[in-house]
Amino acid sequence: MSAVLEARNLTTGYGGAMVLEDLSIALNEGEVLCLIGHNGAGKSTLMKTLFGLHPAGSGEVVLRGETVTGATPKALALQGIAMVPEGRGIFPNLTVDEIFEMGMWAVGVPEAERAARRDWVLGVLPVIAEFRHRRAGTLSGGQAQMVSIGRALLSRPRILLLDEPSIGLAPKLFQDLLAPIRALQQEEGLSILLVEQNVREALKISDRVEVMKSGKMIWEGRPGELSDNRKLMELY
């Protein structure tokens, strides 16, 4: 198994406060890696640093063996990464169609391909068709989350960074959301880094788990091993 996206000895923070300390993590080709950890452990900060939204203090971000530390999100998007951010990943003043259109334009999807891309995403997440003409501000939390994921898929990424897609979703809804993502992942060999609080549900679709605490990796293994590890399961 080869790593597609890595953080190597990454250290970063906000102002004086360190959040990640000498952290290394690797996402392997074609796997779903679930990253869990307490609130404030630094999961989102890691995601943002991997996607060029937050500067690395020291250490590097490596994409398919090449250093991309400091690259812009657009440059990374063009190299096949997409991110679904924590919280509402939609613009309330735009319609769903406009969000999709703008999302494709932003990462340079040629005009001639856009309709096909949108139809492809509507194939993966068919419910979106029901509210594509609505202003995104009027969508429910789950609908907004689908749109946010759909938007990320529009660039046909090879690597997907999902930051707490379950936030605000009932477990059943979360499964509805994850099932097509997992299917797509298996079909196309996507690599997914999934940050989740909703550990039990997330483990069901994950190939590997890393546990993070106060900016450091403290445990790594297979989902089954984590479920068997009583001490860790009690914590998360």
Binding site: P73, M83, P85, F91, P92, N93, L94, M102, A106
Partner: protein, 289 residues
């Protein structure tokens, strides 16, 4: 026929107020920057046009130069003043003071170069003709109203139909999410400033041709832009347009009852009435925060 006369001049004044206010509202709506130096962009554009006229360059080159000056000023303010303040997470008050200070500097520099007294450009466009008995209208009035309609429609099309327009509508909600999409919020912010500042040009040019200029004009322009933005509903450029017309009409119709030095009081009266009766403004959406 006095009221008809005042309504027509009110529409003319209102058209110019409206576009200038739409410019301010566009900038505020997209960037959440309280661009108090918007009045200074107006003064700059007006005096560049005036200078081009005295230099004999002709009307069209004068308008182009005025537009370039206003846009360059807006973008420079964004890049050199507001961006550093935002980078250091400066407060609303810091932005206000910096912006206000730059406005004063522009006023004084313009005063030093062109003098502080009233100047105006003679033009047949500002010569009134009798429309009907006792009602006089200059061609400038029709041009002003047409400009407001055309430029506003063009702006709406741009915001609705182009990708950059969509991004500008999205920017204020979350510059961070704009970056997640792969766009550059700083670049979009500069576009908002360039466009918003360009919208002062019709007002600036027609004020130079019509009622005349002095370097302190920026304060009145700013008061009107701000009042129109609040009366129209913050974030609604359509609201700013309508409110610009309302303020222009009110200022002129008030002449039936009050002497002309009361015109700013009328603006404030409308502002306070709206704040008390309809705090979200005429077209404001009630927002959660």
């Amino acid at each position: 026929m006095l009221w008809l006369q005042l309504t027509l001049t009110g529409l003319q004044t209102g058209a110019l107020y409206a576009l200038t206010a739409v410019g301010f509202s566009l900038i505020f709506g997209a960037t959440r920057v309280f661009h108090f130096a918007h009045g200074a962009a107006f003064v700059l554009a007006a005096y560049v046009f005036y200078w081009a006229d005295t230099a004999g360059l002709g009307m069209i080159p004068g308008i182009v130069l005025a537009a370039l000056a206003a846009m360059a000023f807006g973008v420079a303010m964004d890049r050199l003043v507001y961006a550093p303040i935002q980078r250091h997470e400066g407060s609303f008050f810091t932005v206000f003071v910096a912006s206000f200070g730059i406005g004063i500097v522009v006023e004084n520099v313009v005063g030093m170069v062109f003098g502080r007294s009233f100047v105006t450009i003679d033009s047949t466009l500002s010569q009134s003709r009798e429309l009907m008995e006792g009602v006089y209208v200059a061609p400038l009035a029709w041009i002003a109203i047409a400009c407001a309609a055309v430029f506003f429609a063009a702006l709406q099309l741009f915001l609705r139909r182009t990708h950059t327009g969509m991004a500008l509508r999205a920017l204020a909600d979350s510059p961070e999410l704009i970056r997640v999409f792969g766009l550059d919020p700083r670049r979009l912010s500069s576009i908002a400033f360039a466009l918003g500042s360009a919208l002062v040009v019709p007002g600036a040019v027609m004020t130079a041709l019509g009622s005349g200029l002095n370097p302190a004009l920026g304060h009145h322009v700013m008061l009107i832009s701000l009042a129109a933005t609040i009366v129209g509903g913050i974030g609604s450029i359509g609201g700013a347009l309508v409110a610009g017309f309302v303020l222009g009409l009110a200022e002129n119709l008030a002449l039936i009852a009050f002497p002309s030095q009361w015109s700013e009081a009328v603006t404030f009266a409308i502002l306070f009435l709206v704040i008390i009766l309809r705090p979200a403004g005429l077209f404001g959406r009630a927002t959660a925060h």
